[in-house]
């Protein structure tokens, strides 16, 4: 692989751009964090690299667009994947009109619905982890905290995190965004599944230390 150019330094990994086997690629390197115990550090990086690569392949097989995984080096916590040219959904949302916004949020709902239907949870689902590519496709990225889980709690956390990214970044249109998202989401999952998940989202939100709404014990 020839020259790598650092394109982003995220919270847990450095992203480099380069060429690999003739492809335009992103090299994701999970860096060691000097603030954690060495053993814990190795464990976290190795586990997350392995899970991320496995789940990206799985997602792709389900028809959810993710960057194609080309190479994995577990010992050094490195994943080489396809480079997707585009803009983050987080930045894109405010730039386009309602119709486009609705289309992308619905599609995101469909993708997340497919993942959840197959017991895959993303673990860090925010509008910063979705790319609208130059050719108009939607890609979900950063599966570093994802896992295989049939636990309704994990699926609900995905929805909770996405809702919070709406509320904290896109606060003036968060209701609208959620409505569009849920339209796509409901088209994939059964009404019962969706209800279970959304009820758990409510529970999670009430579990936070301080929330205004009272917790009412079910009798």
């Amino acid at each position: 692989m020839d020259e790598l150019v650092l394109i982003a330094s995220g919270a847990e990994a450095n992203l480099y751009r380069g060429r690999f086997l003739g492809y335009d690629v992103v090299v994701k390197h999970r860096v060691s964090k000097p603030y954690r115990d060495v053993k814990l550090d190795l464990m976290i990086r190795r586990d997350r690299t392995l899970t991320e690569a496995k789940i990206m392949l799985l997602a792709m097989s389900l028809g959810v667009r993710v960057p194609t995984v080309l190479y994995v080096d577990l010992e050094n916590s490195i994943i080489v994947m396809e480079y997707v040219e585009g803009v983050l959904l987080r930045d894109y949302i405010g730039l386009v009109d309602e119709g486009v916004r609705r289309a992308y949020l619905e599609l995101l709902g469909v993708y997340v619905g497919k993942l959840h239907k197959n017991d895959i949870t993303h673990g860090d689902l925010t509008t910063s982890n979705v790319i609208v590519s130059s050719n108009g496709s939607l890609y979900i990225i950063d599966f570093g905290l994802s896992k295989i889980s049939n636990d309704v709690e994990d699926k609900a956390v995905d929805i909770h995190l996405l809702m919070r990214s709406f509320e904290s970044i896109h606060y003036n249109m968060s209701k609208e965004l959620l409505t569009y998202f849920l339209r796509g989401y409901r088209s994939v999952l059964s009404p019962n599944e969706v209800n279970d998940i959304l009820n758990t989202v409510k529970e999670i939100r009430l579990r936070g230390r301080y929330v205004e709404e009272r917790r009412v014990r079910k009798s």
Binding site: S9, G10, A11, E12, K33, P34, Y35, R36, D37, K39, L40, M43, I44, G123, D124, L125, T126, S128, L145, V157, L161, R164, S168, I169, Y171, I204, R207, G208, R209, Y210, V211, E212
Partner: protein, 333 residues
């Protein structure tokens, strides 16, 4: 402008008096309710506050060499916190405001921790990590409010630490000479034992860690000191990791640690490493003002009063679960 502030959200009853010019702090008096066993009993704490409130108020006024007549407003922490405790402070504040005809300023306790931290560190727009017995939150200012970027999904870091050391039989007291019992125990350990490390997006969770750690302890296989070390490592690291995520996300250049748990040296070292790693300035509020106090309430009340924030005494209800992200911050814009 001079404002008197009253804090009574949990185990501290404090009265502070501040002015809008250096040296800012004119008086700082407080008493702490210390349970003889277990955690804070809200009613016992409230009774203790009632017994001491007048004395603390008098001492604060005499330290400031002022009478209530001389202040421009009465600020009070109306939440979040324990109901019975909050009501003591609220009752006194309502009475003072009504009798002396002073504006009553409602203050959110979490916002007050942030504002006193900013005053003491000189930070303007930091990413805030708020860690205390009852709170674990990552916040940042955006469009008029302190928005919550991450928080605990169940118990708070301080509560987790207290519960763990109590259950393994090394507390209370929880803190000796400013050092928490978990830190004391962990300093003696060195072998890392695998425990559930939970980071969900920008949120953390400690209930699973607590259960797993107590199970390890009860199995009798491991040295308590190694368990303490591992528990601390997992708990602190997950907080530092979500802080790093917050920094990456918000691009803030200042990192401010507030709240009682900020006193931990090991946690502080981890944050120092993080700040160097990300090239941000680190501010840790000195222990005296990192814990609950009346000064921070008075100071935040002063900022609010300058922007015309006040409440009619008959409408000054306590709010036990008052979220900081529901409070408008007019003085930041």
């Amino acid at each position: 402008m001079i404002v008197l502030g009253i804090e009574s959200t949990a185990h501290t009853f404090g009265v502070g008096v501040v002015e809008d010019r250096p040296p800012y702090i004119l008086a700082d008096k407080r008493v702490n309710y210390v349970p003889s066993r277990g955690g804070i009993h809200p009613r016992e704490a409230a009774l203790y506050f009632m017994d001491n409130a007048v004395k603390v108020l008098r001492e604060a006024l005499s330290e400031a060499k002022l009478s209530v007549k001389d202040v421009d407003g009465i600020a009070v922490a109306l939440g979040p916190g324990l109901g019975p405790c909050l009501r003591v402070g609220a009752t006194i504040a309502r009475a003072l405001a009504t009798y002396f005809r002073k504006p009553l300023v409602p203050v959110n306790h979490a916002v007050a921790h942030i504002e006193i931290g900013k005053l003491l560190t000189g930070f303007k727009d930091p990413l805030i990590v708020y860690l205390s017995g009852g709170n674990t939150m990552i916040l940042a200012f955006s469009d008029g409010r302190y928005r919550v970027f991450g928080e605990t999904l169940d118990i708070a870091l301080g509560n987790f630490m207290d519960t763990f050391v109590r259950e393994v039989g090394i507390a209370p007291p929880y803190v000796v000479n400013g050092v928490h019992k978990l830190d004391m125990c962990a300093d003696e350990g060195k072998n890392f034992i695998n425990l559930p490390y939970v980071v969900k997006g920008q949120d953390v969770s400690f209930s699973g860690l607590l259960t797993a750690a107590l199970k390890l302890f009860r199995s009798g296989v491991y040295d308590l000191r190694d368990i303490c070390y591992s528990v601390r490592e997992v708990a602190y690291t997950s907080i530092v990791e979500v802080s790093e995520r917050g920094l990456a996300h918000t691009k803030k250049k200042e990192l401010l640690i507030v709240g009682g748990v900020a006193a931990s040296k090991v946690l502080r070292t981890k944050f120092e490493v993080l700040s160097m790693l990300r090239g941000v300035r680190l501010g840790v509020v000195e222990p005296k003002y990192a814990v609950d106090n009346g000064v921070m309430i008075a100071w935040t009340g002063l900022l609010a009063l300058k922007h015309g924030v006040s409440v009619e005494p008959e409408r000054a209800y306590v709010r036990q679960r008052w979220r900081p992200d529901s409070v408008d911050i007019p003085w930041m814009s």
